[in-house]
Amino acid sequence: MMSNMLIRFGRIVWLIVSLLPVVVLADIPVARQQALRYLLAQDCGSCHGLTLQGGLGPALTREALTGKSPDMLRAVILHGRPGTPMAPWQPFMSEAEAAWLVQQLLDGKAP
């Protein structure tokens, strides 16, 4: 009885975990985090400004991104925005890494 419950509970936990986006669970090594921050400042910074105050591309400060969905932001980073100069950055980072970048931006921790 008890073990049955445990198994069922385990299954539910497994189900929830497997439904969660992979990105939440992924751990980005520190060295890679630094590389991503550098990319954000230097390469994203080409259009969005080194301090992310905006340029040809919009500002990416916490204030500017307030209320925007993290999933949408992650998709824009990975797949770009057709009709604008925003390019798909998929070749440079994984889904998890893009999600981590989005979180950094939303938390106002970057760069």
Partner: protein, 395 residues
């Protein structure tokens, strides 16, 4: 007595230091072999000497220098540095200090100096438009908002000077080119050209000041305006150079810093293609294209026009390629290091300086042997600007 003596010697030291500083400023010296290197993340510039080559001084306090560019006063003593944060800083190359600095907008992209050397114009993203200042005092002279449609303001790009004390620039969001005549600086006369193409991302003028060319991001082609006959309007050239193929992703906007010319041919970056387009400038038709290592960013001609040097967007930004304009072939591929952001030739082109961001160095190459002959430490260097720009139309 001892204490007084030490005090005295320190005083003398300070005095000597002051004299030295004043001497550096007052000793007669030309500026023709000087230049500035932008250290963009640190908000600093270095004054450099291209004859030595070496760094002479570092000056800080210039604000956010992402994408910073500058123009020189016609006496080539002062540089006007345009910062991303809207800062306009007048630098004195001889005294090696900031002469004046104003915050003129929220977000700026570049600028130009007028034919008569009296006016400095800054192109702004926020609020979209240009602002004009007195070169001596940096006092505001005129403002031209880039208003279009239903009162929107467009980001302004590709601002250059043209003969007749005119400034020419493009409206990125509106797809327009404007000519502002500042012969009477208090009453600018603006001529607008609409529907010039989608998303002009930068613009430049031919060295004779006759043709203004805007590169288009939103479509394959360039917008061309004959400033000798502006009444003929803007025409599209090299239309459809992508041949309908899906463009490749562009991980950094190309630049049209200075019209790269060799004889009657001009070299421009293609957008979304790993190619440099070669244009016959008499007919304004494509005559060739050169396959290159990546998305070209800067395509610059050595002053004699024999070579054209190209750098690239990520992930190919560790590479520089050299096109021999006689054969139309790439004769050299260099890998100076990751993040080659800018290239600048010495006045007559025997050397080229490359800013190599990730190595925190500016590397100096001999343009005949392609060997690295010197390196100068600089923190995340970006733009390199030498004083011969002072006397070129459009720079």
């Amino acid at each position: 007595m001892m204490i007084a003596g030490r005090h005295q010697s320190r005083m003398w030291g300070v005095l000597a230091g002051c004299l030295l500083l004043a001497a550096g400023c007052a000793t007669p010296r030309g500026t023709g072999d000087l230049g500035l290197v932008i250290e963009r993340a640190a908000g600093r510039v270095q004054v450099v000497n291209t004859s030595q080559p070496r760094s002479l001084a570092t000056i800080s306090g210039l604000g956010d220098l992402s994408h910073a560019s500058l123009v020189y006063s016609r006496d080539a003593r002062y540089a006007y540095v345009f910062g991303r944060d809207g800062g306009l800083t007048k630098m004195d190359l001889l005294c090696r200090r900031i002469d004046k600095r104003v915050l003129q907008a929220g977000n700026a992209i570049g600028g130009a100096i007028s034919q008569d050397g009296r006016l400095i114009a800054v192109s702004n993203y926020t609020p979209g438009g240009i602002k004009v200042f007195d070169t001596a005092t940096l006092e505001p002279v005129a403002e031209i908002p880039a208003a279009y449609g239903k009162g929107q303001r467009s980001k302004v790009v590709g601002l250059v000077d043209a003969p007749g004390n005119r400034f020419v620039f493009s409206l990125y969001d509106a797809g327009e080119i404007w000519i502002a005549d500042l012969s009477d600086s208090k009453r600018p006369v603006v001529q607008k050209f609409t529907n010039i193409g989608k998303q002009p991302y930068d613009g430049t003028v031919t060295p004779d000041g006759r043709y203004y060319i805007a590169g288009l991001f939103g479509e394959d082609g360039l917008a061309l305006l004959d400033l000798w006959q502006p009444e003929q309007g803007v025409r599209r050239v090299l239309q459809g150079y992508g041949r309908g193929e899906q463009p490749l992703p562009v991980y950094k906007m190309p630049h049209m810093d200075y019209w790269a010319m060799a004889g009657d041919r001009a070299y421009v970056p293609a957008v979304g293609r790993h190619e440099v387009l070669v244009i016959d400038q008499r007919l304004w038709k494509e005559t060739a294209r050169v396959a290159v290592a990546g998305q070209p960013i800067f395509v610059v001609a050595r002053p004699d026009g024999r070579q054209v040097w190209v750098n690239f967007a990520p992930p190919h930004n560790d590479t520089v390629q050299v096109i021999d304009t006689l054969s139309g072939k790439i004769v050299k591929t260099l890998t100076p290091g990751k993040g080659v952001l800018h290239m600048e030739f010495t006045p007559r082109g025997e050397r080229v300086w490359l800013s190599v961001r990730d190595e925190d160095r500016v590397k100096v190459y001999d343009t005949e042997s392609f060997t690295e002959i010197a390196a100068i430490s600089a923190e995340k260097p970006s733009g390199i600007f030498f004083t011969p720009r002072a006397h070129r139309i459009g720079q």
